[in-house]
């Protein structure tokens, strides 16, 4: 899948390659710095969070998206606007919980993991975990506390990559977001 997508030497793609590779370098660095995968996952999530809280401004500024009325709308914006804008992909939104407070983003292809092959000694690494952090951080800035995690990952041999996202609560007063 990644194979074809990389053929083009068009500059936008290039950038995403730069991004992909840089992210890769980061992950491997973390793997060097921390002994176990869980720590790495945590760190990735943190960094994602830090990005998220900054990213949201950029996002709101560039996508003229207004306030979302409900979680479903949020989900759509994330999938159709945010992911498209930043990663050039449009994951599908599925598996709504009956309560409508939890759903899944299904990524057919995840630019972060182009070229990546997980070595056996990193079975517990959630390679793309930064995405969870980003989503968490960004939504927190719009007063939404969410819980994000990877349910499936093609890297780990699943057919698709699935990000599971659960609405926790609405944050009333906007507490200042510090780096984690």
């Amino acid at each position: 899948m990644s194979r074809q997508s990389n053929r083009t030497t068009e500059s936008k793609k290039m950038n995403s390659e730069l991004f992909t590779l840089t992210y890769g370098a980061l992950v491997t660095q973390l793997c060097k710095d921390y002994e176990n995968d869980e720590e790495v996952n945590k760190q990735l999530d943190k960094m994602g969070y830090n990005i998220g809280v900054r990213l949201i401004e950029d996002f709101l500024a560039r996508s003229s998206v207004g306030r979302c009325h409900d979680f479903r709308e949020t989900a759509d914006v994330i999938a159709k606007v945010a992911f498209k804008m930043y990663l050039g992909i449009t994951p599908s939104v599925t598996n709504w919980s009956p309560a409508g407070d939890e759903f899944s983003l299904i990524l057919e292809n995840n630019p972060l993991v182009d070229f990546v092959e997980l070595p056996d000694n990193h079975s517990n690494l959630v390679y793309s975990n930064i995405l969870c952090g980003v989503l968490r951080g960004a939504l927190e800035m719009v007063q939404m506390a969410v819980d994000v995690r990877f349910a499936q990952d093609t890297l780990r041999g699943d057919n698709v990559t699935e990000i599971r996202m659960k609405f926790v609560k609405r944050i009333e007063e906007n507490l200042p977001a510090g780096d984690e």
């Binding site: 990389n6 030497t9 500059s11 936008k12 290039m14 950038n15 995403s16 390659e17 730069l18 991004f19 590779l21 840089t22 992210y23 890769g24 370098a25 980061l26 491997t28 660095q29 710095d33 760190q43 960094m47 830090n50 990005i51 900054r54 990213l55 950029d58 560039r62 804008m85 930043y86 990663l87 050039g88 070229f115 780096d179």
Partner: protein
Amino acid sequence: MADEALFQFLHNELIQYVYKSSEQGEMENARCITKLENMGFRVGQGLIERFTKDTARFKDELDVMKFICKDFWTSVFKKQIDNLRTNHQGIYVLQDNKFRLLSQLSAGKQYLEHAPKYLAFTCGLVRGGLANLGVKSIVTAEVSVMPACKFQVMIQKV
């Protein structure tokens, strides 16, 4: 461009991480720079492998440098190097008058001291790219007026 914003966020986070994970001190600071540079190095290797996949074999060192200044720079920073100079003794100076990773840093002296953090990764990119093309080098950088920036490439004769 969207992707780029994302990259810059990531790049900043990278810097934050590296500097946070190490306590301060001259020694430490040096280690951070080097760490960033090394990450860049690996990325550079990968990128150049892709970029040169469909190009003809390079004639010589200069040919390679030109590629870095034109194609490579364009693909990564979406502009060419503004000026390339060499002493024909294996030293090249690449000048970028509006270096992308600095342009987000607001200009002005007080930010100048932070500039090096934002250059290390790119030094690595270049060194990695060159190394993968069989040109061993040392890449350093200098800023005096942001966001203009000079990268100096010292070729190691092997």
